[in-house]
Amino acid sequence: MPDKPILSFIDFKLNFDTFDGVYQAIDGISFDLNPGESLGIVGETGCGKSVTAKSIMGLLPSPPAEVAGGGIWFDGRNLLKEKSSTLKSIRGNEISMIFQDPMTYLNPVFTIGKQIVDVILAHQKRGNHGRSLTSKQAFQYGMELLDKVHLPNPRRQMKSYPHELSGGMRQRVLIAMALSGQPKLLIADEPTTALDVTIQAQILELISELREQLNLSVIMITHDLGVVATVCDRVLVMYAGQIVEDASIKQLFNNPSHPYTRGLLQAVPDPAKPNKKLKGIPGALPNLLNPPIGCRFQTRCSSASEKCTRMPALNKIRTNQKVACWNVGTT
């Protein structure tokens, strides 16, 4: 490991307090993110991947969200213990986030330019660059940002409204806004799910390019294993609020070890092997109001045995691969 990690989760637990009881959305996850690394988080609906991202940004309303233990360390600070004013200066300036549906995050009644300038000015007020921009300079900077994300004709786009842009262009605008505070970490929550494949390819290429140019760390949250393979170095596979496998791209696809990871890979139609028989994973996610004791995958696992009623630890089985399963040998 080269440098010390930029972001660390240490046994983080998060519950949602609902009328039906305590929903254990995240149950003790730990991982490190190194500077410049691109980490993918994959899993199905309801596995806690978006909640993980939102808890980094402190975007979950409390109540109902309630941190039940552990910590999130960013650059030497525990994000869970910081004052809200400190968090405000971290959000956007040091950590930025882009979301799935770009239209929902742009205000339809203001021009793109107005919204970008707003973001730029808001951040420099709390800023850490030590310079103060006039609104004219902010407009100029906004155009530079749009140019950086390869939006054609930035001057004209600054004056257009969100509905005049296509989905791919809107996502580029959001990325430009996310970059305005010169963050160290970019969290992308399903950034291409709403886009067509050709546009998705463009956006993924842009993210990889910016990452290299600006030495960004990226957390890419997605349910698409193909997307992960294209842009990430390392992957966390999440299931029911726990990390079941933490592996480099190479290990994940060549030696998938957790039964859930293997199940996921078997469920995806492989463009190279069209006649491959698809296998679903039988059953459904356990109810997290009352999760099974021990390994949460045991209810759907074909090789579950008695020891699975105790929680397996995330053990290193090879270089660059950790798995939480009793049946995967550490020998």
């Binding site: 199905e44 609906t45 296509s166 791919g168 262009m169 067509d196 494949v197 050709t198 546009i199 998705q200 390819a201 463009q202 993924l204 290429e205 349910h223 698409d224 294993l225 193909g226 997307v227 992960v228 393979a229 294209t230 791209i249 190479k250 994940l252 696809f253 060549n254 199940g263 996921l264 890979l265 078997q266 469920a267 995806v268 139609p269 492989d270 463009p271 190279a272 069209p274 028989k277 698809l278 296998k279 679903g280 994973i281 459904a284």
Partner: protein
């Protein structure tokens, strides 16, 4: 069994100056499906793929063209045709959550087409619904549940049960797995494949997910801006794509594997507006290999190969005579 000839669906829209123009959603599409075949239509959003499905079921207005199912001309929409069509062709939509009435039990939702079209009532009706649920792999206990008690995959199975209730010969599947997780998607795909074998159904499968189409379909048509630009057996189209758009589309699928295959750089720009179609070949604004002074003038013809065809000037054996050179 399904024959679509030169189908055009144009919508009247107003442009930003309030002038009436035409939105050409589908612009001259012909399809021929054999009985028991699964035909896939792929394309990006806005290419008109869903509109074809809707036009076949008379859910979208046809501007021009002819549609035949099992030899019966259903282009004209009168009462008799409509009733016949509803019994013989059915559709499964993308989002099962919004396709089921939240206030109807599964029993009522599945029974509705049977009540409308047949005289089955009472015990027989209940038995039929149970039978249908059994076909789609749901147990009897679901019969008096409401949609919110079911998971996404189960709801989609209910939608399929409802669609096959009248034993249609044609099933239109409009992105049936897009709203589902991969592990559930694979279950539904496996099930659709076996259902097709068991009931000898004809599928018109509409999707933007090429891997899914490849898995389920025997033949595939690639749509771009209201036209089919390449058609062929799934194997041919996926292994030896002819049209530059098909090549780009295939290259853009992120590959779930440790090493990424070599592929062409992504296409530049967005799909043009169907209100303001490019002249000549519709793909020329984004085409990486366009021929100057030809593609932006003339629409290409279909060039036939052994197991399919594509419409691109570059496949024209007489390209030199026409006078174009690749850029």
């Amino acid at each position: 069994m399904l024959a679509v000839e030169n189908l055009k669906v144009h919508f009247d829209v107003k442009n930003n100056r309030g002038v009436k123009t035409k939105l050409r959603a589908v612009d001259g599409v012909s399809l021929h499906l054999k009985k028991g075949e699964a035909y896939g239509i792929v394309g990006e959003s806005g290419s008109g793929k869903s509109t074809i499905g809707k036009a076949v079921l008379n859910l979208a207005p046809k501007t021009e063209g002819k549609i035949e199912i099992d030899g019966r001309d259903i282009t004209m929409t009168n009462r008799a045709n409509e009733a016949w069509l509803r019994q013989n062709a059915q559709i499964v939509f993308q989002d099962p959550h919004s396709a089921l009435n939240p206030r109807m039990t599964i029993m009522r939702s599945v029974a509705e087409p049977i009540i409308v079209h047949t005289k089955t009532r009472g015990h027989d009706l209940r038995r039929r619904v149970e039978e249908l649920l059994d076909i789609v792999g749901l147990s009897k206990q679901f019969i008096y549940r409401y949609p919110h008690e079911l998971s996404g995959g189960q709801k989609q199975r209910v939608c399929i049960a409802r669609a096959i209730a009248l034993e249609p010969s044609l099933l239109i599947l409009d992105e049936p797995t897009s709203a589902l997780d991969v592990s559930v998607q694979s279950q539904i795909l496996e099930f659709l494949a076996s259902l097709q074998r068991d009931l000898n159904l004809t599928y018109l499968f509409i999707s933007h997910n090429l891997s899914v189409v490849r898995y389920l379909c025997q033949r595939v048509g690639v749509m771009y801006l209201g036209n089919i630009i390449e058609e062929g057996t799934t194997k041919t189209v996926f292994e030896h794509p002819q049209h530059p758009y098909t090549k780009a589309l295939l290259g853009a699928i992120p590959y779930p594997g440790a090493t990424q295959p070599q592929s062409a750089p992504p296409l530049i720009g967005d799909i043009p507006s169907p209100v303001d179609l490019p002249v000549g070949c519709r793909f020329h604004t984004r085409c990486p290999v366009k021929v100057a002074n030809l593609c932006d003038r003339l629409a290409p013809e279909h060039h036939h190969q052994t197991l399919g065809w594509a419409s691109c000037h570059l496949l024209d054996p007489d390209l030199d005579k026409v006078g174009g050179k690749p850029e």
